[in-house]
């Protein structure tokens, strides 16, 4: 027990804000108003204020139940030439869904399987095929990964079927596609075996491990030169050259804090289709650019104090958007403008439409046909977030010039 006398002797911090119903002096009233303004700005400033963040539940609101909790973490996004956004979830069950911007609601397409994860493994083929790669949701659990293909139209998984099991006893860690070659490139989960799958013939070929000790990133990217890029131990990059059909270690290492290379990994990759520059995010939360032609890698900085860059995409104007923040962390949306070289935290993505919701975790990002940014939330209850970047103020002439 604490004696009252002891408490009375304590020096307590002085309150800064009097209560509204207290009788205030003029000075206190002015102070209260000033503090109230500071407080209001403080509480709002942490959220994305440039541009607009909205979300769509994973099911037409008011019509159907959304994809259930623990089954709805969005871990892959893909876009078709018409601008439709396709997504795959991970959890107790994996679902495929489609968001058609013309209709503006998410429609579930069906279930891929139980305890299935589709992460960084969803691609659209111009033949109107949606192709997913599966793995187990539980780390260390062996689940035979499958390449699953389904027709996009109509939105139905009735015709979905496994078309290949690339590596015996292993799941699929990542997929990417070179649509011009109708070839899908993939990585297996355990050994990091690189494989190719030809969409037309269904032929699968294995091309060996990307890393001798099996330490690799679950990310692949089709580069502007027809090669496929990925990351391995200590943040070294490699590429697969389809012409030579072999994996080539590159003498390029992503930026790392000193002494942390052992923990470093490529966390996400995105391509600027116009300049051919590849952007990446690391496990330490550092953003970098890589020029496949010159093989120059540049550290662009770290947009927030958080670890990881779990989602990254390049906007239609070449501005890079990403999400920093670790598992169980707090996501921040950031942007990098290659023109001004400004790397900037935009804030926590919080939506008020169609519902009030903080986005804490994201595992996927993709740019829409008209430059809107789609973010796949990866939480127990998840939504498709849509970020509309702000339009710069300039004359029509200047804007067109730009």
């Amino acid at each position: 027990m604490i004696e009252e006398e002891e408490l009375k002797k304590r020096k307590w911090p002085a309150p800064k804000i009097p209560f509204r119903f207290e009788k205030l002096t003029e000075e206190q009233r002015i102070l209260r108003e000033a503090y109230s303004r500071i407080g209001a700005d403080y509480t709002r400033d942490v959220y994305v204020r440039e541009g607009k963040v909205i979300l769509r539940p994973l099911g037409w609101k008011g019509i159907v139940k959304p994809i259930p909790p623990e089954e709805c973490a969005i871990t892959s996004l893909a876009r078709d030439p018409r601008g439709r956004i396709f997504g795959a979830t991970s959890g107790r069950r994996s679902h495929l869904f489609v968001y058609d911007p013309d209709l503006d609601y998410v429609e579930e397409m069906g279930v891929l399987g139980q305890n299935v994860c589709v992460k960084h493994s969803l691609v659209v083929c111009s033949d109107e095929l949606l192709i997913a790669g599966t793995k187990s949701c539980k780390p260390g659990e062996a689940l035979q990964g499958q390449i699953i293909s389904c027709r996009i139209d109509p939105y139905s998984l009735l015709e979905a079927s496994p078309v290949a099991t690339p590596v015996e006893g292993e799941g699929i860690a990542a997929l990417t596609i070179d649509d011009s070659k109708k070839t899908i490139y993939g990585l297996s989960t355990e050994s990091g075996t690189f494989f190719t799958y030809e969409v037309d013939s269904g032929k699968v070929q294995l091309h060996g491990k990307v890393d001798e000790i099996g330490d690799f990133s679950d990310v692949l990217l089709s580069g502007p030169d027809g090669c496929v890029y990925g990351g391995k131990r200590l943040g070294w990059l490699y590429r697969y050259n389809p012409a030579e059909q072999r994996i080539i270690p590159l003498d390029v290492q992503i930026p790392s804090f000193r002494g942390r290379a052992m923990y470093n990994k490529v966390d996400s990759l995105a391509l600027d289709e116009i300049t051919g520059i590849i952007y990446g995010g690391s496990a330490d939360g550092v953003v970098f650019s890589f020029d496949p032609e010159s093989r120059q890698i540049i550290c662009l900085g770290k947009p927030t104090t958080a670890r990881r860059v779990r989602a990254l995409t390049v906007g239609n104007d070449g501005v890079v958007y990403g999400v920093s923040g670790d598992v169980s962390g707090l996501a921040h949306l950031f942007r990098y403008d290659p023109e001004t070289r400004d790397l900037r935290d935009l804030g926590v993505p919080r939506a008020a439409s169609e519902q009030w919701w903080h986005g804490y975790e994201f595992d996927a990002a993709i740019t829409g046909l008209h430059g809107e940014i789609y973010l796949g939330e990866a939480d127990r209850i998840s939504h498709l977030f849509i970020y509309f970047p702000p339009i710069r103020k300039c004359s029509a002439y200047e804007c067109n010039e730009h």
Binding site: I2, K16, T43, P69, L330, H358, Y360
Partner: protein, 407 residues
């Protein structure tokens, strides 16, 4: 007037009492919180109804080795997380939002990755009033506070909901294992309760019941939804307070609307055992005469809060509602006949020169006196109402549990 207040005057800057409960010893226990001034830690205070005596029994933050001047966001509160146990001890969990010392304001999102200003994470503890010993079970999860908590005594578990991420947790008192069952919403329910089998219940942002099936050890999202006015779509349909019905077959509850003041504020009853998912009964506005107009039309955005639900020994459901349509504005004590649903205004919650602005939760003692935790005053206090039956000496037996095993 049967209304009085007990002022915690030895804590002159502390400003809110979010948690209040009755221990098996018959004393009233209150978490006296310092929310609106940086650098204050929560205190546990007891009130002995027989002796009319206040004791400042524990500087909780200090006891948990989280001194409020360490630069972190403070362990400034025990929110709806002070619960009595049949063995006479109390379980508690700490909560955040008090600013670091010297700072004007603090929010978890602004300081999540700030190693200095971050909230270190809520502790769960057990306190024995007899020995005044505290057992600290440690930090459960960094950055988060515990908004509400319930004791499942037979199962030796605590269930709760975190803030700000709105995760449902289960703490096993036998194994000292903390498990995060994941996110259930965004806005944060203010109450969690249990049925006779000690399944846990709270709600999501739309008022749909989220059940923790204790046997299956999993969360189930039910299709049962808290009621709301016809013109609404169920958005922000959060629960604020709940209290078990005297027979234990149901709970009575009320909406939380302090952040959305124009929201209707309804009472409801949830019958656990009526149908496979239970059944919700809309009991209409907590209290709102026609002169008050509908809440949505109130462009002044005045307070419409209702809290402090507690059953009196007379079988009435007592609670406090803010009257903005009547002078003096403030909280008024209401009682409702749960059979006829007839409401009756008892009196303004006013004593010692203060008309309560916000009543959080309520409890009662063995004699049937009702205690209401008050917020937003310095020093902070609780209001005590003695129903007529107390003077008549109608309550003679000490019945346990008295009110509820949740905060």
């Amino acid at each position: 007037m049967n209304m009085r207040s007990v002022i915690f005057s030895a804590l002159p800057v502390h400003d809110t009492c979010w948690s209040i409960t009755t221990g098996k010893d018959g004393k009233i226990y209150v978490g006296v919180c310092g929310e609106m001034t940086g650098g204050l830690g929560v205190f546990l205070v007891s009130y002995d109804p027989e002796k009319d005596e206040v004791k400042y029994i524990l500087d909780v933050a200090e006891a948990l080795h989280e001194p409020p001047d360490n630069g972190h966001a403070t362990h400034s509160k025990i929110h709806y997380c002070l619960v009595p146990s049949s063995d006479g001890t109390l379980y508690g969990a700490t909560h955040c939002t008090g600013a670091p010392i010297g700072d004007l304001i603090w929010r978890p999102w602004n300081c999540w990755d700030d190693s200095i200003r971050m909230f270190t994470g809520f502790h769960i503890f057990n306190f024995d009033p007899k020995t005044e010993e505290i057992e600290d079970f440690g930090v459960m999860t960094p950055n988060e506070g515990s908004r509400c908590m319930v004791l499942a005594e037979k199962r030796r578990k605590l269930y709760g909901v975190t803030y700000p991420r709105d995760h449902f947790y289960v703490y096993d008192l036998e194994t000292n294992e903390y498990r995060d069952l994941g996110r259930i919403g965004d806005i944060n329910p203010q109450s969690i309760f249990i049925d006779k089998e000690e399944n846990g219940y709270t709600v999501d942002d739309f008022g749909f019941i989220v059940k923790y099936d204790a046997d299956a050890d999993e969360l189930v999202h039910l299709d049962v939804q808290l009621p709301y006015a016809e013109y609404r779509d169920g958005t922000h349909n959060l629960i604020y307070d709940s209290v078990p019905s005297p027979d234990g077959e149901a709970v009575y509850g009320v909406h939380w609307n302090v952040d959305v003041r124009r929201l209707d504020n309804r009472l409801f009853r949830y019958d656990f055992y009526d149908g496979p998912q239970g059944k919700i009964h809309d009991l209409d506005w907590a209290y709102r005469p026609s002169e008050a107009g509908p809440a949505w039309s109130d462009t002044r955005r005045t307070n419409n809060h209702t809290g402090g639900l507690v059953f009196g020994e007379d079988g009435y459901l007592y609670y406090a509602t803010y009257f903005h349509w009547k002078e003096p504005n403030g909280m008024y004590l209401i009682r409702m006949n749960v059979e006829t649903l007839e409401r009756e205004v008892i009196c303004p919650m006013e004593a010692d020169g203060l008309h309560a602005w916000y009543i959080a939760k309520a409890t009662r003692d063995y004699l049937g006196n009702l205690y209401f935790a008050s917020c937003v005053s310095r020093p902070t206090r609780m209001f005590v109402y003695s129903p007529p039956y107390v003077k008549e000496g109608a309550v003679t037996r000490k019945k346990w549990p008295l009110v509820r095993p949740w905060g």
